[in-house]
Symmetry: C2
Subunit: 334 residues, 2 copies
């Protein structure tokens, strides 16, 4: 891994996006989201994903000039059309609108249809927390997860994000509903490592920690087996019905053609409930109760979601973002 400064990464991506037809402002905002994902340690949805994003602008799936717009709404609830624009910019706009709504109505709920992959979901959780509000959002995806008891991927792994603002460090959960992503499975199988827990089914229909076997059967495990299977279905159903957009089973199962996603963005403004200091104190005490609890093994350090992110972000802003030289060369050649 090389380390490259945040500013150079962001400028390099921005210059490419400008050439692809993004406006100056939108190129900068889109580049920043990619750079931030890598800076926060999520290169898989940062620089690692950028070449595919460029390919999807070039193949016409992502429209560089389309901006999300409101279709209809009532009070705190709005439906937006993503118009097949850049997924991360659309998601940022939708969470931004939910935050605005929460200032006026206490809560904001924006359902966004007809959009593209939002890259790192956590970005919109951090966005809400940095605005001082609680954020919840999720997206559907192309079919990549069989329901419990099934062998055909008709559900998506539908990442779910929850964020709580806290002055000592926001708490941000960003998780897909599969136990391991295909990217994670590929990493384990390439390194010849067993998964730490069962991740799916092998050819004999048995639960297994063999990542390569799961890649072959295409039967990764939903978190909690039947529970995650139901959760993935409900997240899809709520997103698609409120966005009046596509459901997972209608989304092309091709990573270069995955489009028309449905997403939900919720913001809750705790200031509307008064006693914002108390919120901070309650969140701190929950963090402290986990930090102070007995680890299973002496070496275990118990962490809250987002804790690692803050540490990595600080380190990478100082030392430069770790960049895979192969991917960086590919990006520079675009």
């Amino acid at each position: 891994m090389n380390r490259i400064s945040f500013a150079i990464v962001k400028e390099s991506l921005s210059a490419i996006l400008l050439r692809l037809g993004f406006s100056q402002t939108r190129a900068a905002a889109c580049a920043r989201l990619f750079a931030e994902a890598s800076c926060d340690g999520v290169a898989s949805h940062g620089l690692g994903r950028f070449p595919r994003f460029v390919a999807m602008v070039r193949n016409g799936v992502v429209d560089p000039v389309a901006e999300a717009e409101k279709v209809t709404g009532l009070g705190a609830l709005e439906r937006w059309d993503g118009r097949r624009g850049a997924g991360n910019l659309n998601a940022q706009a939708a969470m931004g609108r939910a935050i605005e709504l929460s200032r006026e109505h206490g809560v904001g709920w924006v359902s966004l249809g007809n959009t593209n992959h939002w890259m790192r979901g956590g970005s919109y959780g951090w966005q809400a927390a940095e605005a001082g509000v609680i954020g919840i959002c999720w997206t559907n995806t192309m079919p990549n997860l069989p329901p419990w008891g099934g062998s055909e991927p008709v559900l998506g792994n539908n990442p779910l994000v929850m964020a709580v603002p806290r002055s000592k460090g926001h708490v941000v959960l960003d998780m897909a509903i599969s136990q391991f992503s295909y990217g994670a499975l590929a990493g384990y199988s390439q390194r010849g490592e067993l998964l730490p827990v069962d991740g799916g089914f092998d050819e004999a229909g048995q639960l297994t920690r063999d990542a390569a076997a799961i890649e072959r059967t295409e039967r990764p495990l939903p978190i909690g087996c039947w529970k995650g299977s139901g959760l993935a279905m409900l997240l899809d159903m709520i997103a698609a019905t409120t966005a009046l957009g596509l459901a997972t089973h209608q989304i092309p199962a091709d990573s270069l053609r995955e489009t028309g996603l449905s997403q939900v963005f919720i913001a809750v403004n705790p200031a509307a409930l008064g006693e914002a200091q108390k919120l901070d104190q309650i969140a701190d005490e929950i963090v402290a109760s986990v930090h102070g609890s007995r680890p299973a093994e002496a070496a275990c350090k118990l962490r809250y979601p987002g804790e690692q992110t803050l540490r990595l972000r600080k380190e990478n802003m100082q030392l430069g973002i770790p960049v895979d030289p192969v991917i960086w060369k590919e990006i520079l050649s675009i």
Copy 2:
């Protein structure tokens, strides 16, 4: 199992609640929620839980005359105080208020603190769906789940409910964040059966399907391991901070003293977004895609969350609710 008609079950419970100090109306409503849980096949949170509920009225944890009331709010967002009243009536009132708010603001969000165990969480999902709105709600619980990497239960299994209305049958997910409840573990260990999947850790710190071993270590598994651990923490944090109520680590870890819970009730009114028929069609198509997908084994029937409930409810309304004679005798002797 004996079968007893819904009406007799409800009347019997109602008569007991009247004697305990509930008003006529509230005794009937509370009895109905218990009877419905058993009728829907969730006896563990219906009749099976009634004797403990009575004990908690008698020991002063549940106040039979206290009603939840609004503390503060802005627009679509309200904070309510449950005043340590009956948890199921408080939850029903809070979801009822969220539904009302959603009629006016598109969305309603009610955070309820200082309340008691809500019994069957699914009840409030069905309530929302029957009112034609999407419902999401969750509760924290007493500490009963160690965080991932920990051996001390400082998290709760925090049941999460999501419901989507659908004219051919509402879709209602009702799940705790642990892979198996302690009640389920007890069932497996009493029957001497292995769990169908790993459910926690044994004394050697290894994942196991041996329910009795997990009962001994008190280390059940969160769904998705580190993922469910993070999810349980965020659900607790959002509930406690918006309700300004107790967090899991502050709730007495004693099933007869578990009180002061924090809960969230969200309703979204799809009619505010227009095209309610389209909602139905989208939900139907998602159900059809799961029903029509390839099962892992020929005998598997793929189902959506809530599908079994409808079948059972119909059967039990016709034939009577299956009632454990030991529990029924205990109830009649109250």
